[in-house]
Amino acid sequence: MNNGLAVAIMVASLLVGGACLAAAARNRWLDQWHLIALGVVELGVLAQTVVAVIALIGGDRPVELATFIGYLIVTTLFLPAAVGLSILEPTRWGSVIAGSASIVVAILMLRLLQTWTPLR
């Protein structure tokens, strides 16, 4: 786990989540730039996943291995699933879904950091 990257993802996902909720407040679905921004957050998440998997293969062991792997899988798949649901609902409520999901990504990233702490 890369701490700097994790913090960057958390800040970005909170900002993008706020922007999506702002669209919901204006009774609108997401604009294209929201979707691009969500994609950028997901790219960060994927990069973090790669870093974590390489560390796991390299022999690092988080304190709570099973929990960590569970969070890792959920975190990686979470935003695409939420954006998919948002696309099914192209109204303000779709913006609520994408915005809340982006904020949840920050929480998931925090939990990943907490369950990591390699023992090696």
């Binding site: 099973a66 929990t67 959920v74 649901l85 099914l88 609902e89 609520v96 879904i97 809340s100």
Partner: protein
């Protein structure tokens, strides 16, 4: 499609997402706990699994909509509300009954009290939408 105010559209879709998230997190939590340390707190872990199943069924009810889906969702939201209130109260009165946390412990405090709010939102939404 059954119109804009069907239970599986608009705010209903947000609820579907929330229920999916909680089915997943309660289920993953239960899975890890049951697989790695079931003997520590069997009651708490089985309860986590049960709550995950209820979230999942509620989500299915909300997605399906119609008379059956609505009835299913109402039943699940009611059980959830009773569950979170009962377990929340129990964990406050006698914390030894649940030596390890569940999604419903302390009224869902570990999950930002969303487990307490979610069934209320669900029931309000089901009330606000027209009966089929």
């Amino acid at each position: 499609m059954t119109g804009p105010r069907a239970i599986n559209s608009g705010p209903g879709r947000v609820l579907v997402g929330l229920y999916g998230l909680f089915a997943l997190s309660a289920g993953a939590r239960a899975g890890v706990q049951i697989a790695t340390k079931f003997h520590v707190a069997p009651l708490a872990y089985v309860l986590s699994a049960v709550s995950a199943a209820i979230y999942l069924v509620a989500m299915i009810g909300l997605i399906r909509g119609g008379r059956g889906g609505r009835r299913l969702a109402i039943a699940c939201c009611s059980v959830e509300l009773i569950g979170v209130l009962a377990v929340g109260t129990l964990t406050l009165i006698d914390s030894s009954a649940f030596p390890d946390a569940t999604v419903w412990s302390d009224f869902g405090r570990g999950y930002g009290f969303v487990p307490l709010v979610l069934p209320v939102l669900g029931l309000l939404w089901l009330r606000a939408t027209p009966q089929p």
